[in-house]
Symmetry: C2
Subunit: 418 residues, 2 copies
């Protein structure tokens, strides 16, 4: 699609201007973007109302409507996130490695922007602003495909951001939307080899799998989290219960929420009746194996688990629960079913924690802490553009550094290779 | 193809054993592999003779036959490379980042093996050994597809390496070949999602493009180098000539050899007649623009350049030469035609060097040094598995660290997210 290629070419050209911009210029632009969003609040809320109306008549769920909805207060929170980005250090220019070689060649490996970042996501207008801010701070142009449900909101937001950039002397084309070209536009973005340096899909498993299969540009897979909590025989059970409840219920519908609980058989009798009662109080439906069902108190909401339950990312008040014979079976279960996002062990046994950390092959491994901490903000990376579940380039929360690449700079004085 | 998936599954299982092996175990295995190769030298040379016979009757060029040929001496050099790998630090376990958060959570981002590395390459049996050694040292299993021309040599080599691993108590299936399943086997490897963590193609542009298009597993693109040398108006011309000759002729047929020379118009009159004469002495055919042709001395081998010449990676004693109006036109030419591998500026002007370094978007940028230094060994990384020309994960020479990923390890004491 020629229009989307033209968008990508303009992004590439604009990215060159930004690549050599200093931090002060970028931070001033982030503040200008934040101010402009707040000033344009009423206009954004009006456009958002049109999206919400369309959503309601299309039968959109209350949960999705809530994610889509913007108010002046929410816009101010979103704008504050841009100001927080301005306060973070600039990843560009960091010397990752450097040395002088025996022959006198001086080497530096520098962090530099990728160039053009593509983002395909679903109806959450705050992601439009987050992605634009992260891309700008890391020196990249961004091309946004936000999905039709938020099209009116996103159109106004992108316009406001582009105008703010122009006012600060930067190209407005650093932030462009391709929503106008629908699905064919999204496909064209996935095929824009040589123009799009990395494409980040963010949303449900279907969206992510479509992008991974279809794209010929480099992609970073994000976010599917079939997350496990293992309660070891030596776990401090007074700690284990609050951690489990936090991991499952502090926020459902997010990728770092727990989806499966594994309990060591030695403590199942003691832990599960209390845990299942507390989960029931919190409104959680348990999908349990036979041993779990046998230990469930009367008030617990328990249904039998199938293999499908071990594989599922519920994103709801559901939890699969299985009793295991020990650490080996827990690790084996995780190897078979995990999506490689986050797993936690609750234990007081040093060797068990060390084996779990070494042998579980996931982006994040927690010891005696909630899985909900796998989050760029919580781990001190600042904002995040997504949580990578792949091993190439970025693994776990992706912050500013993950939106950069490196460049070798070599200074000599007439050096030739012998 | 079920056989290749079974190979990949065995590799995955074997990789788990290796992931937690300590450096001493891995280094001892590397030495055992080196010793076994030398001991099996006569058997390898015999198998290699069969490959060479087949190559000759298929009309293989002398250059390719030379790359394919093994002798006891060459095998000893290849074995020494394994011993040098043993002497390098272990990338696994390195703490990349770490801190204690205000809430007391202790974070470490650790370097861990990828798991299973796939390698698709062409008739060079030394790559079989290099790839196996690099994978082992970085804690990964490797699946090798070496191409039919070297099939007999590779079969014996892989067998010898696997036996050496078994003798040291490691799974022989850490090093497996899929040559027996031909092209369909290679395609199956490209599609082994969830089993192959990264696939590295190494060879000609056609091979690499096929893998990039076809693969659904993560791929790192390597090696195509349309490399530029820019002689600025302030260049030290006494340095410029040896650097140019080194970059073009020290070894042709490699990706970091120069393919295009750009000369600032202000020094073209002085530099080009001498440079073209020296290039002619070195047997180089120049493909020049009009200004270059006009400045060529009688003895120079000069033909007119077309756009095709600006785009080509000759990998031969050919060089495209163009006179440019200055730094801007040089950078613009490089933006349009470079493959993003390596470019060099020869200059005494600090601002010109800084602009060139900042604005040229390539994996390596040289100032007053030969482009031939873009090489893992030369840049002090130890061995390399290829030179990445993409921006994701690895850019430039890929050593041991580039064959690893990271894992967040978080220790708490009952921490939950507020």
């Amino acid at each position: 699609m020629a229009e989307v290629r033209a968008v990508a070419e303009r992004a590439k050209t604009a990215s060159r201007r930004l690549a050599t911009a200093d931090r002060a210029t970028k931070d001033a632009a982030l503040h200008a973007m934040a101010d402009a969003l707040v000033a344009a609040g009423p206009r954004i809320v009006e456009a958002n109302a049109a999206d919400l109306d369309r959503g309601r008549s299309n039968g959109m769920s209350q949960g999705l409507l809530d994610r889509l909805a913007l108010s002046q207060e929410r816009i101010e929170v979103i704008a504050d996130a841009l100001r927080e980005l301005a306060a973070l250090p600039d990843p560009v220019g960091e010397v990752v490695r450097g040395q002088t070689l025996p022959n006198g060649l001086r080497l530096r490996q520098l962090r530099v922007p990728m160039g053009v970042v593509g983002m395909i996501y679903e109806a959450r207008p705050n992601v439009t602003v987050d992605a634009a801010g992260l891309a700008l701070k890391s020196g990249n142009a961004v091309i946004l495909r936000g999905g039709s449900a938020a099209a009116s909101s996103n159109q106004v937001i992108v316009q406001v951001l582009a105008e703010a950039l122009e006012e600060r002397g930067l190209p407005g084309r650093l932030v462009q939307s391709i929503d106008a070209w629908g699905r064919p536009g999204a496909v064209a973005l996935m095929h824009a080899r040589g123009l799009v340096d990395v494409l980040v899909p963010r949303g449900g498993a279907d969206l992510i799998q479509t992008v991974v299969r279809e794209a010929t540009v480099p992609v970073i897979e994000t976010g599917v989290g079939n997350v496990h909590v293992f309660v070891d025989e030596s776990a401090d059970l007074d700690q284990a219960l609050p951690i489990l409840l936090n991991a499952k219920t502090q926020r459902v519908g997010v990728c770092n929420a727990a989806e499966t609980l594994l309990v060591h058989r030695e403590v199942a009798d003691e832990f599960l009746p209390i845990a299942l009662a507390s989960l029931a109080d919190a409104g959680v439906t348990v999908h349990g194996d036979e041993e779990t069902l046998a230990l469930a108190p009367e008030e617990a909401a328990v249904v039998p688990a199938t293999d499908d339950d071990w594989a599922r990312e519920y994103l709801s008040l559901d939890l699969a629960v299985r009793v295991v014979s020990g650490l080996d079976e827990a690790i084996e279960h995780i190897r078979r079913w995990s999506s490689g996002h986050t797993e936690a062990i609750l234990t007081r046994d040093l060797r068990a924690s060390e084996r779990f950390v070494a042998e579980v092959d996931s982006a994040a491994v927690m010891v005696n802490a909630s899985t909900r901490f796998t989050d760029g903000g919580q781990l001190g990376l600042g904002a995040e553009i997504g949580i990578s579940t792949q091993k190439l380039h970025a693994r776990g929360p992706m912050g500013l550094a993950e939106l950069t690449t490196t460049k070798w700079v070599v200074h000599g004085d007439g050096h030739v290779r012998p």
